[in-house]
């Protein structure tokens, strides 16, 4: 396959950045999208050019490190798939592919396609945990959890923190990410004591980071590689309103 790649290049946070086109041939349909970029980078190095920086680590769809907005869609065209698991057979010979970083004020570009997602860590710091110091735990079987609650909590807990929800949201909102943690902990008995305090603190932090608000468009869920359910956002809303009523 022969492709034209239009890639966002930005030397560092201070640089303005621009789209640059690259031609690439000999792309095998069996390559993953990131392997295709590896091939491009190997060539750029030998040509004495700066290779394209992009985040990646596990390359099996679970660490949440890879990103990339591909032709306007975070993680590209395949549903419920991270960029690292997207394969080139989803593209056609001669395609022009636009590759951009996550775009959000809360995710400043570090270099090329790499952004800083530490805002997510700070949202978790604000309250995304159960305060259970090591050693203080009661016997694990002491608290039964209804299977359905456990399953729903699990569905929310599968969030990989990649930030595709923010990238896709027309408002660059971090609601799905925040709501996934609120829902995971809020559905379990262990999460109850801090439940309402948690939602207030996490939402405040989310706003302070400069994310936009949620307008319920559902774009986040549509691109989420783990399919975090849209209802998590409503559960967050319910908890916040309950907390606000005192």
């Amino acid at each position: 396959m022969k492709l034209t790649l239009k890639i966002w290049r930005q030397k560092n946070a201070a640089d303005e950045g621009r789209m640059v086109s690259y031609e690439i041939d000999d792309v095998s349909p069996d390559m993953s999208f990131l392997e295709m970029l590896d091939v491009l980078n190997e060539r750029l190095i030998l040509d004495g050019e700066d290779p394209v920086a992009f985040d990646h680590d596990c390359r099996e769809g679970i660490c949440g490190m890879c990103s990339l907005v591909i032709d306007g869609t975070p993680h590209g065209p395949e549903k419920a798939t991270t960029t690292c698991q997207l394969h080139m057979r989803k593209f056609k010979d001669g395609d022009v592919i636009t590759i951009e970083p996550w775009r959000a004020r809360a995710f400043p570009v570090v270099k090329d396609l790499v952004v800083d997602r530490s805002a997510f860590d700070r949202i978790i710091q604000a309250g995304g945990y159960v305060s259970a110091p090591t050693g203080s735990a009661p016997e694990a079987a002491a608290i039964p959890v209804p299977k359905e609650d456990a399953n729903k909590a699990f569905d929310a807990a599968t969030c990989i923190g990649c930030g595709a929800c923010v990238a896709a949201c027309p408002n660059a909102s971090a609601m799905l990410f925040t709501a996934a943690k609120i829902t995971h902990l809020g559905l379990l008995p262990q999460g109850q004591p801090e439940r309402y305090d948690r939602v207030v603190k996490m939402v405040d932090q989310m706003d302070a980071e400069g994310f936009g608000g949620c307008t319920n468009t559902g774009e986040c869920t549509a691109v989420c590689p783990k399919g975090i359910p849209f209802e998590t956002i409503s559960r967050l809303n319910a908890d916040l309103l309950k907390a606000s009523r005192g």
């Binding site: 990646h56 660490c63 490190m65 270099k111 807990a157 923190g161």
Partner: protein
Amino acid sequence: MTELFTEGAPVEDTKAPDGPINERWDKRRFGGKLVNPANRRKLSVIVVGTGLAGGSAAATLGELGYQVKSFCYQDSPRRAHSIAAQGGINAAKNYRNDGDSIQRLFYDTVKGGDYRSRESNVYRLAQVSVEIIDQCVAQGVPFARDYGGLLDTRSFGGVQVSRTFYARGQTGQQLLLGAYQALERQIAAGTVEMFSRHEMLELIVVDGVARGIVARDMITGEIETHLADAVVLASGGYGNVFFLSTNAKGCNVTATWRAHRKGALFANPCYTQIHPTCIPQSGEHQSKLTLMSESLRNDGRVWVPVKKGDTRKPADIPEDERDYYLERIYPSFGNLVPRDIASRAAKNVCDEGRGVGPGGLGVYLDFADAIQRLGRDAVAAKYGNLFEMYERITGEDPFEVPMRIYPAVHYTMGGLWVDYDLQSTIPGLFVIGEANFSDHGANRLGASALMQGLADGYFVLPNTISDYLAKGPFEKIDEDHEAVVEAREAVKGRIEKLLSIDGDRTPDSFHRELGALMWEYCGMERTDAGLRKAIDRIRELREEFWTRVKVPGENEELNQNLEKAGRIADFFELAELMCIDALHREESCGGHFRAESQTPDGEALRDDERFAYVAAWEYTGGAPVLHKEALEYEYVKMTQRSYK
């Protein structure tokens, strides 16, 4: 062989308590000194790595009141590769009333490790396992539950009890997020300072004691000095020396290798675990391998064509021209033989030229029989997710075409040598999780890696490190101290060197070549001649690396190729030590198979007379020095495994 290494004095675990095995952990905790809570905040600890071991250790040390600095190379501590563990975590809870006990978990682990681990350590691991589950449940880890709302378990890795707790196929992720959240809580509380996108490049040793690290800020390139009263390495395994492995791309040996160069002994580097059910390489561009759950072997049948070089489509190969080799060679275990045996058998048939798929490196895992027997829906319900993942990667539908699988490097049992307190041979340097060598012997059982990481981080290290820290307050070290300056300058010099070579080969091209070499000669099957050849080739290639590598860009920026090049440089040195270790261990045990040491029917043959010891290697710059730690078994009788 003497030209390759020399033998030094034996090494001894002086912290290991004696007495009845079930009292040793209590005895050690009681014997160790404690630090007064008011004094803890005056003591500082550096933790490198934020996986299950490092994340849980940093959080727990923070809770105890120490000043902690935590480092990871990823953009967030939540991304450490523990996150990718699928299967589950073992614990001797005996919730199923099926005869499990601490004693049995201990026994299974020692046996599974092919009698090359320490009894005291493994027993402690089994004891602590029950506390881990309690801790994780309290944090809100959503383990699988049954209809009564109680915790569900499954059996795993060929043991006879159901002791594996799991969270669908994402147990590692859920456990890691639990530890990560505990860590973030401590960051918010101010007890832990987090340094993400920082890579440790050197250990600072002052007067023989570990006192800090030199780290590179991966965004700005700044070379930073971080000093502390103790250093904990939780930097994971070194499977990426093979280039292709199931490890994350960033996993590397640099932190532990730098410590090794500063005097920490490296134990059993040749013990690597190779997982039989991975998706085979599809071409030269392949950057990593993806593991498919071992559970697939419960219903899939493994086969290759009888004929060499048979290029027919699998459906066109008649039944009598197929070789279901595992069922043929191991009639009683069939497709369910342990990992190392299944892996080696696959290699053997491929070596005979009967492999399938690109490059002939693959065997079929066929579900046609299962689909006929159970129905398509039942198979989909059991394995639907895995089939989807397979199809996403290969473009082939396992319902229509048999899957292709091939073994891949998955875990490394070797690591820095530590005593019962998890302290290395450098005082003040502790090593936990996959980075140390301690608990799995020559082979790790399924669902035991998560157990060990969390045991070390939550429960063992926080209790043992206090005995060391109680020696404080420690002398204050200055940034201008000779040893500190030397460490910093060494790092800068190395980076300058890498950037200045400006050769004609990319870092990855060297890594691929090194990996192929290691896979060929130090992979599933090792021979004397092969290992010697590999050592020569590694040396040549390393020399070539230092004259021909091309690292683009500069230090003062995000430079992913500079990061890679530094890691590859250390992999070269490790690779040589692995081969030397593999060469000296003239027996087969667990993940280490020496072709010269096998039973008449081709199975691994241990040599307990000569090799029942831990091989702990000392770095000299030249031929390494071997220090042996003798292994004694008081509670488990050593036997030969058989799966016929």
